[in-house]
Amino acid sequence: MKILTIEKLEVGVAGKKILKGLDIEINSGELHAIMGPNGSGKSTLANALAGYPAFTIISGTAKLKGKDLFSMSPEQRAREGLFLAFQYPIEIQGVNTAYFLKAALNEQRKYRNLEEIDAFEFLEILKSKASKLGISDNLLNRSINYGFSGGEKKRLEMLQLLLLSPDLAILDETDSGLDIDSLKVIADAINSVRSSENAQLVITHYQRLLDYVVPDRVHVLYKGRIIKSDGPELAKEIEKRGYDYLINDLQPEIEPVNT
């Protein structure tokens, strides 16, 4: 089953085109990695798929399990099974983390005609999943991400991944800024949700995470286009040689000439 199908996608922000015709197809059971140097458009892709209002879809389509993503609000996308783990999770002072997680889970369950989970049952589920990630009860009783360390923020994103078990998880540089122990915790979480029913799109700068989370396919994004797609060995090659060898192979873009 096709989980995500992106065709000829062009996305802009503040009048500037960032993604310039992008095609990706991810089937159920697959984990794809998108790599690329800074400014290549990786986060733009993640945020555009999740529906961040600042990004404008110029042309192209994206379908989640055959449904048009761009006609949906961000909350509809989430309810349809899309999850974005933020590169920079937002701090929201005053909103209790556990309260927010329960609201999110129940909103999604309601949409799928499942019974809402009561507070008692929810806490049981939450605590068991949180302990796997080394998240303390104390953290869950604080405001969302407020005053959390970088590692704690990323773990909370993973907790949401475990809790919401989405059909498509997009992980936007979840590995950035993590020490090796935290990286392993994050990788374990990603591996634990992988199944033949769902898919993951992992965005990363480095090979490091892919040592623990083995992708089925690796795409290299550069200046808004996929310049190469291959198996997991591509990530290793990039680690060894950098992006330059791929970039140097490219034909120079032909600038239109005004006459």
């Binding site: 600042a54 609000s73 909350e75 005053g94 999110a104 909103e107 999604q108 949409y111």
Partner: protein, 461 residues
């Protein structure tokens, strides 16, 4: 033409003052209060100050966005009237309270029917002021009007000059009063086109603690100007929590003042709220007189329609090693206007002062506006003082984060607004006070998210 206009303006001002003078004289000659001589003296001096400072300098930045000019143009100001207690029919069945210890005033006059039984013990007294003033053996209310005596705000002076009655709460040395005490001030239709002058005096002796809820509630839509004054004396090592909730009506105004004197090692936590007035200004003036005193003020400025809602603070660090923290959140929608004008004044020798003031504003409509002016006046060199003010809209990043988890836009906004408001109660510890605040917050949040037709949600009790 210009001269003619100026001449007219002076005449009008004079005319108002004559009316006020007349009001004070008739009040004085009536001498219905049987005031002790010291109080009569204070009333006279307060009235003299009122005449000197009224009308206030409306162009001053403290009055920007407050609607003060609209207030001064009302008929109640030009033809002032204060109800006398003997004329008030005490028939306020509309109000019920769960508070076991409460003292209730209707249009500024004591209502025994609605109040719990008066208490007059060594440890705790809850009494109408008038009763304590008329019995000469009772010297405790001597504090009355002392805090406010030099206030430049004409409205607080007016209250001292003309108030009928008020609540007097006294806590003896070393008393820990567990149960919250309610002081309730109702305004009814009978006070239409009048000025209501409620008074609350709280004296907390050394090493005592108390939690108080002060409520001002309009139970009619009649145009009324309520000018309440609260004075709090915090003894050494005392601990006071004071929540003030005012709920007015579309044509009513409230110009309130709160004066606090803090002795050494006292802890005072204030929580200031008002809603639904045509206009309201609450001025808090706190003097940290003794070492190691600490003050915390949280306040909510909010507005709908064409309402004005303002908070003014003056925190004077007079003794060393005191701390004061202010957190004001402002939430304005429609065409409402908000104002925060706050000053922290660190006197010379008040070393090791820690003082912070924070004002955060969320504007929910393009027409709403907030004027925030946090000010620091520091005359000591070893202090930590800071101030900050932000004005913005609901954070689009926070909104997107919540929505990206499947929470609908409206619910996400509600969650953010709710957290913005409810953060303000975090410093209050008394469960009874928290419950009252939560009740007020819930109704306010409900109103912010109601459809236009449902906007008339009753946020009274």
């Amino acid at each position: 033409m210009q001269d003619l206009l100026r001449h007219e303006a002076i005449n009008v001002t004079r005319h108002f003052k004559q009316n006020w003078l007349h009001l004070f004289h008739s009040y004085e000659t009536n001498s219905q209060l049987n005031d002790p001589p010291w109080l009569l003296k204070r009333r006279r001096s307060a009235f003299a100050r009122f005449l000197k400072s009224f009308p206030p300098e409306t162009k001053h930045e403290r009055y920007k966005n407050t609607g003060i000019n609209e207030l001064l143009e009302t008929q109640i100001i030009s033809q002032p009237r204060v109800l006398t207690c003997d004329k008030i029919k005490l028939t306020s069945d509309d109000y019920s309270s769960s508070g076991a210890l409460r003292i209730v005033f209707v249009n500024g006059c004591y209502n025994a029917e609605l109040s719990s039984e008066c208490l007059n013990t060594q440890g705790l007294s809850i009494l109408p002021l008038k009763r304590t003033l008329s019995s000469n053996q009772y010297e405790k209310p001597i504090w009355l009007g002392l805090n406010s005596a030099k206030d430049e705000n004409p409205f607080s002076q007016l209250n001292t000059a003309l108030f009928n009655d008020g609540a007097f709460i006294f806590v003896g040395e070393g008393e820990k009063v567990e149960q919250p005490i309610e002081a309730v001030f109702l305004t009814t239709a009978e006070a239409e086109n009048s000025i209501v002058l409620p008074r609350l005096l709280v004296v907390v002796s050394a090493r005592s603690s108390i939690s108080i809820i002060e409520k001002h509630i309009s139970i009619s839509d009649a145009p009324v100007i309520e000018i309440p004054v609260t004075e709090i004396i915090a003894g050494e090592h005392s601990n006071i929590e004071h929540v003030r909730i005012s709920v007015g009506s579309v044509l009513s105004w409230q110009i309130g003042s709160l004066f606090v004197n803090q002795n050494s090692n006292s802890t005072v936590r204030l929580n200031i709220n008002s809603a639904r007035y045509k206009g309201s200004i609450v001025s808090v003036s706190d003097k940290l007189l003794g070492e190691n005193a600490s003050l915390n003020i949280n306040g909510l400025i909010n507005g709908f329609d064409h309402e004005y809602n303002s908070a003014h603070t003056l925190i004077e660090h007079i003794a060393p090693q005191c701390s004061s923290h202010q957190l004001f959140h402002s939430l304005l929608t429609d065409n409402s206007r908000g104002n925060y004008y706050g000053t922290i004044q660190v006197h010379p020798n008040s070393q090791k002062t820690i003082s912070k003031q924070t004002v955060r504003t969320i504007l929910l409509s393009a027409q709403a506006s907030m004027y925030a002016s946090p000010r620091l006046m520091i005359n000591a060199d070893d202090v930590k003082c800071s101030h900050a003010a932000t004005v913005g809209q609901i954070s689009s990043d926070a909104l997107f984060y919540l929505r990206s988890r499947g929470i609908a836009e409206k619910a996400a906004k509600q969650m953010l607004i709710e957290s913005f408001i409810t953060q303000l109660k975090e410093d209050i510890h008394s469960p009874g006070l928290i419950a009252e605040l939560s009740k007020f917050h819930d109704k306010l949040i409900q109103k912010f998210f109601a459809n236009d037709n449902d906007r008339k949600v009753n946020i009274q009790n």
